[in-house]
């Protein structure tokens, strides 16, 4: 990754994008790629620097694993867009990743706290 130009914004941590996407889909229901990007930026209050393009390979990866489905649909503005939905396997995966994540966080916190 290139060094950040605006240090105040955080990079998306390696490997967490999938989880963010899954969580977004879980909250919002069927939504298109742009919608996901907007939502992530909005929720992170614009503090997360997301390269929107990287969403698409991630979505494809999730689809290949059977965690999301995609379907062409029409947006509110009457624009053709691809809509993604979370599958049951995806929901399970999200629960698992969220657990892993909090376990990891608490562990790191513990390590930082003792040092």
């Amino acid at each position: 990754m290139t060094p950040s130009m605006t240090p105040s914004k955080a990079e998306v941590l390696q490997g967490t994008l999938d989880m963010l996407v899954l969580k977004t889909l879980d909250t919002m229901g069927p939504v298109h790629g742009f919608g996901i990007a907007m939502r992530i930026q909005q929720v992170s209050e614009d503090l997360l620097r997301l390269n929107q393009g990287t969403l698409y390979p991630a979505l494809l990866r999730l689809e290949q694993r059977g965690w999301v489905n995609s379907k062409w649909g029409v947006s509110q503005n009457n624009r053709k867009a691809k809509y993604y939905t979370l599958t049951r396997a995806g929901r399970k995966q999200l629960v698992k990743e969220a657990e892993d994540w909090s376990r990891m966080c608490s562990m790191i916190n513990r390590v930082l706290g003792t040092s």
Binding site: G33, F34, Q52, G66, R79, K82
Partner: protein
Amino acid sequence: MSGSLRTFISRLATIFWGRHRDDELDEELRSHLEMATELNERKGMDPETARRQARIQFGGIEQTKEAYRETRGLPAIETMLQDTRYGLRVLRRNPGFTTLAALCLTLGIGANAAVFSWAEGLLFRPYPLVAHQERLVALTGTSRGETDPTSLSWPDFLDLQRSCTLFDSFFVTKITGSALSVGDRAERTVGSIVSANYFDALGLHTILGRGFSPGEDSNRMAHPVAVISYQLWQGRFHGDPQVIGKTQRLNGVSHTIIGVAPEGFYGTFVGWAMQFWVPASMEEIFQAGGYKLEDRSARWIESYARLKPGVTLTQAQQEVSSVGRQLEADYPGTNRGRNFQLWPLWQTPFNNARTLLPTLQIMLAVVTFVLLIACANVGNLLLVRSFGRRHELTVRLAIGARRARLLKQLITEGLVLALLGALGGLAVAHWCQHVLVLLFPARSGVKMYLPGEIDWRVLALSASVCIVATLLFALVPAVQATNIDLAGALKSDSQGVVGNRRGWVRTGLVLVQVSLSFVLLVGAGLLMQSLKRIRTTSPGFETKGVLYTSVDLVSPGYDEQRAKAFDDELIDRVKAVPGVESATLARRVPLGNGTYSATTIAVDGYVPPPDEQPSVEYNEIGPDYFSTVGIALVSGREFTREDDEKAELVSIVNETMVARFWRGASPIGKRLQVKGRWTRVIGVAKDSKYSNVRELPQPFFYVPLRQNFSISTALEIRTLMRPASITVALARELHALDPQLAAYEVISMQEQLDRSTSAQLAAVTLVAILGGLALLLATVGLYAVISYGVSQSRRELGLRMALGADASELIRLVMSRVMALTVSGLLLGTGAALLLTRLLGNLLYKVGPRDPVVFGSAFAVMITTAILGCLLPAVRASKTDPIQALRNG
């Protein structure tokens, strides 16, 4: 479905639908950017800024697409497909090169696949439809003091079956010829005498009717039933679904058909397709020597066993050996010095596997050589061609292609070529499946059955040969071709100078070809020489002017009395035919199939070593046998008509027997015990060949047919007439005697000798054919290298010419290079041949593996071929136009 498998399939699928998915991605990204732009505009940006901001927020569009594509597909496979497509295009563009290379590889891979399929179909899995053949083993007897395995007796077989625990089953099969009559049409067929568990042990079910029931193999002559083969059912019974319960006569005895074997099952005797199976209880009808099921000394059956899963051959052998020792202790009279031996299927000693094994082993070596030569050839062609592609490769390296990527591409191209060769090769193998049988002549009208089998194992082996071949022929040129000094190559023009190192590789490849071809030629020469020796060595009897045939008296139901009367009458009538010098009968003709009678003997004054029972083979012969067949008597007299049932029992022994049992003293008038009866020796005959031409001198003796009668005999006739004319006269005489009778084919003893050496002939033919092909390949290789060398050194040749060399000098120059190359190759080849020809071992007869005549001739052939191969390029070199060569060169 696991995630990773799902991912893989989804990725694999996109390789084929990739283009469609590209369009979809484009559309998705477009809609994303439009939405982003729209949003930006709503925030108050002007359209241009809105669009630019949208793109900046998005990041690199092309990178996204590339990342997307990489996630989507399988880059390795895609690259390979790309290379394959490119390779095919390159090959299409050079049809001449492609054809030549593919033909070479077809030959190399095809020859290998064909030999693999033969080995599979004849040695490793010879019995189609039989499951788990890897657990089948052949079982024979052994006898102390004898090297050859013996047959088994029925009681021994039953004891093995009862006592062994490591086996699923033991079963018996004994090949037998028989006259088969359905209605009034009789013909010669081949079938098997089997134990009742035969079909169950093999795991086969009849397609009609049933197999044998337990107990049908016991009680003398109690079960005249037969299972027939699918071909017999189709051929003689026209696939009649009501065939079960009908009867057919086998050697004159009516048998009820109880079952039809499945299509594709040919019995368990490599070399012949069985037409019927009968239970062992009926063996007397097919076998000489009467009822043998209760006789432990009558060793006549061949047997197989199926090991239990996980049991090794060694464990199994230990078990049968211990049973053998127990039997030896229980029945010393019949089993002293005897035991049992197990054999892996491919070493089965009692069928044609044994004859074919050495031939196939040699073939395997030969085809490996042919493959190497073919690979060297293709490697050379690729190398020559890679000079033409140097420009392309250089440019690609210069604009940043990695060397590994180029190597991968060149090897993929080689693989494409090898695949073409492999496809052709499998076609060749398929076509060769039934070629082997053509090399073996039909006997008594029954054709041998020697199928190749192309199953997944053969396919897998051929595929690995294909890959190895690719690495052999494509790797070196590929490494060479991509080993480019960029700066140097770009500076000089595309008419590249041949570097020294590259020259070495090419020379090396030619050396390999020349030396391997030489080894093959020497091998073929040695085999040819020994065949010639075999066919010209005196077998100890006359081969010219002696004919033999036989008359089937068993089928028409002759009993002993009638047969004796008939025999006398027949001999008188045949002798009376003008042109016939003498005629006689014998139970067996020398070098025929079938087995001689054998007996344990006793001789006054000879004490056999402990634990050994001298067992000697003998023939039952009529009067005038020796003068008719042309075996000289050393002393004593022949049998006459007076040596009949009422006279004293007599015998004639051969020289080896005299040397061994009488220590060279004259045995005339001494006693010899045969089958428990004492006979008086009345003559000594010269040694001759009995079962095959290559056997060593062995003890053998003769007894009068009249005193040891057999209804089935062979008729030997001494005459200068041709077989065809005798056939007519014989048919006339037979008809006069009994209109029912017909003689089998009349053949000369020479023909008989030739038939008995057909395995040698087959080996010679195959090796000679492949040796010839190898020579052709090597010549092509030599030609290609020399032509290329000549075309590359045009400048040098032109210069020489300009300085005053004339055409003959240029020819000499080119020739001397070729000769240097050839002779070095031949020296290498001689070294290899000296080491390798010993492997021919058993197939060589009276020819040393280092026979100087053969080596010399092979040398001469190679040199001549080399001269022929480079004549054209040499002449072309001499026609170089110096001006043009110097201007362009």
